[in-house]
């Protein structure tokens, strides 16, 4: 099972002939992901390391039965690429591209959502189900197969926590980076819901940061709708208000979006919050009873 990506994933990579696109498409394929097609308009008929390239997503789907798209095209063309994937019948779209205008994503989100499509990202590292499939830029070698789900707004911080878990002998079912932009296709709740339904996941680690109120909403969701335990981490206690901390969405506006408020909201709902990545891994180890 796992979530978002698994053995049934048939991936089409949009922007496959770009430097990043070809590098990661090849890596994902080498990991064992079924990378069945690439799309770059005007380059149909070529291939990238044995992956056939098509001019349109529709063409790729017709020939290869692709069901998942990874978007690597530059920011100003990315919204178009997502619409194209969705209109071609793709059910899961993972957008790695960084720097997409927020208004573009606002329209994309409201178009995609009622169609029941799973949209992950943008500005995210992708999704990895260890031993099954890797779609995106997550370095698979630091993770291991197991039963802990990991969902995060940040890339390297997720790797850090995953690494600490792996070191304690705790593997993961799926790692999902939802991205650090103001408008993301999948919220914490969307991913928590999938983990709750996944028989291969027994505990979830949620890695949040300052900005917005998704962590607060997730706290309510966890308390009311989840049977599986959740361990959380929040980054940005020392971040000053009004300053964007790297991620476009990581900003405290007025009194909203602070790390303290998020921590309190989670703890008030019985979710344990680690104070640093090492402690998070330890809390997970305590909960699953693994050797530490």
């Amino acid at each position: 099972m796992a979530i978002v990506v698994d053995r049934d994933t048939r991936l089409v990579v949009q922007g496959i002939t770009g430097r990043e696109g070809s590098f990661h498409a090849t890596r994902n394929k080498a990991y064992g992901t079924q990378v069945v097609a690439g799309v770059t308009p005007g380059k149909g008929g070529l291939d990238v390391e044995g992956i056939p390239v098509f001019d349109t997503v529709t063409g790729a789907v017709a020939e290869t039965d692709a069901n998942t798209a990874m978007v690597f095209v530059p920011a100003r063309f990315a919204a178009d690429a997502i619409y194209e994937a969705v209109d071609a019948g793709i059910r899961t779209v993972i957008t790695i591209t960084e720097g997409i205008p927020a208004h573009d994503m606002l329209r994309v989100y409201n178009y995609v959502r009622p169609r029941g499509i799973t949209l992950v990202g943008p500005n995210c590292p992708g999704a990895l189900s260890p031993g099954k499939a890797n779609v995106g830029i997550i370095p698979a070698e630091i993770f291991a197969e197991g039963r802990v789900g990991l969902v995060s707004r940040s890339g390297t911080l997720t790797y850090q926590i995953g690494h600490e878990l792996t070191r304690l002998g705790i593997g993961q079912s799926t790692i999902v980076g939802i991205g650090g932009d103001p408008v993301v296709g999948s919220s914490f709740i969307d991913i928590l819901e999938k983990f709750e339904a996944d028989p291969e996941t027994e505990l979830v680690v949620m890695v949040g940061e300052i900005g917005g109120d998704e962590e607060e909403k997730a706290a309510v969701f966890i308390a009311e709708r989840m049977s599986k335990p959740v361990v959380a981490y929040i980054a940005g206690f020392t971040a000053p208000p009004g300053k964007t901390m790297g991620h476009a969405g990581a900003i405290i506006s007025g009194s909203a979006g602070t790390a303290q408020a998020k921590k309190e909201a989670l703890e008030a709902r019985g979710v344990r919050v680690g104070t640093n990545p090492t402690e998070v891994a330890q809390l997970v180890a305590d909960a699953v009873g693994a050797r530490a």
Binding site: G99, A102, T156, G236, N276
Partner: protein, 381 residues
Amino acid sequence: MDLYEYQGKELFRRHGIPVSAGRLATTPEEARSAADSLGSEVVVKAQVLTGGRGKAGGIKLADSPQEAEHHAREILGMDIRGHVVKKVWIEEASEIAKEYYLSLTFDRGAKKPLFMFTTQGGVDIEEVADKTPEALAKLHVDPLAGLQPYHARRLLFAAGIEEPGEQKQIAAIVEKLYAAFVAEDAMLCEINPLIVEPHGRVKALDSKFTVDDNALYRHPDVAEMRDLDAYPAEERAAREKGVTYVKLDGEVGILGNGAGLVMSTLDVIAQAGGRPANFCDLGGGGDAQGVVDALEVITPDPQVRSILFNVFGGITRCDEVAQGILDALGRMEIAQPIVVRLDGTNADEGRQILADASPPNLHVEETMLSAARRAVELAGH
């Protein structure tokens, strides 16, 4: 990107939202001639990218050009919440019968633009939302369907606007504000206060306008409005080098890869009893040039007493990062002690490279927590 009041009003004007006539001045003399050309009574308003100007004495009424010059002399150079006033906006004074509040924001949770409107204008909107939430009319707009006339009607009736002249003018402003919000890729458009003059005319007396940085490529005119002087010198230098940097107040300089990990590093420094001097994200790369650029941004800060390098190797390999650090140290003099913590892909090889070279003043730690403690110690805590 936040715009000054006068820039926001320029965008309002372009989109047909009524504002007062005004002129920008950077010297008391310019303020005087601006007041002279505007004729009547004027208001001298400090242009800073922060709130609380009024309370700080940054907004003053002037009866004559002489008085405008006098006020401008006082206001220019004033420090308002850490922002030095370098420009004043001289504007025709308005008579105010009523003060309303109208804003359009990006509701991240609902993923829709959100209008907020209340007749309790001129005050802090968070306070209105807290104390009298029933007085605040809120309404989402579906970005695919766009604004419909009923949106304005609902806001007006919910807020209790009954005067037909006001209804008509505010409905038009709601429509134009939405058009401006979409056309300029705004993250926030706020009019506080939206005033009604004694004879019934409605206009925007202030503006707060924030434009999405990611969309500036399609708004070259707005991009040009960025005032580099408004940012601390270090942040300006960082921007030129393409390094993501935010100046903070402590003694431990921080360098890391990835926004989340860097934020986490700042927190761990605080937990270890220190104070971070900055947020600095190297991004994906860790090559010598990237490391040099980042160190050049961090080290001129006189408050920095130690530097913590916290890198998690993913696609970027730690041996490459270690080599980058050595190359950087070979190319520049660093006075402060540096603590390096490498983890993830090829971390052992990276640590070995640093151990073999063992440059003076460089300390290698194995974990994020021990590295944080060491950096705090070295900063003299």
